[in-house]
Symmetry: C2
Amino acid sequence: MPVYKYDVTMTCSGCSGAVTRVLSKLDGVKSFDVSLETQKVTVDSDKLSEQEILEKIQKTGKAAKVSA
Amino acid sequence: MPVYKYDVTMTCSGCSGAVTRVLSKLDGVKSFDVSLETQKVTVDSDKLSEQEILEKIQKTGKAAKVSA
């Protein structure tokens, strides 16, 4: 079960809440964590690719990239 | 040329920046304004419907509705 990690620029709880809302509506996501403090998003999915999830996160308008 | 108006919950400049980024990438938008202060977004488009633009704004994860 892959767990993908992303760096996402989020500056307030409205920002992290928006990313949370998008991921909670996304089919194929088993679980996820959004951390405003560390600016990290982790997503556990065996149905979606790392890139597919990145694109969904980017649709929020936040700067996002796969964590190094 | 229709100008559509939306109420969008935005709590910081990261929030309004995210909405701005999404609208600037959206084909068919002639001009738009995003106001963090008034929580309003106005969009000038002759190619997209009020509902199509609303759905794009909602993809940011922000609570959004057509202004009454």
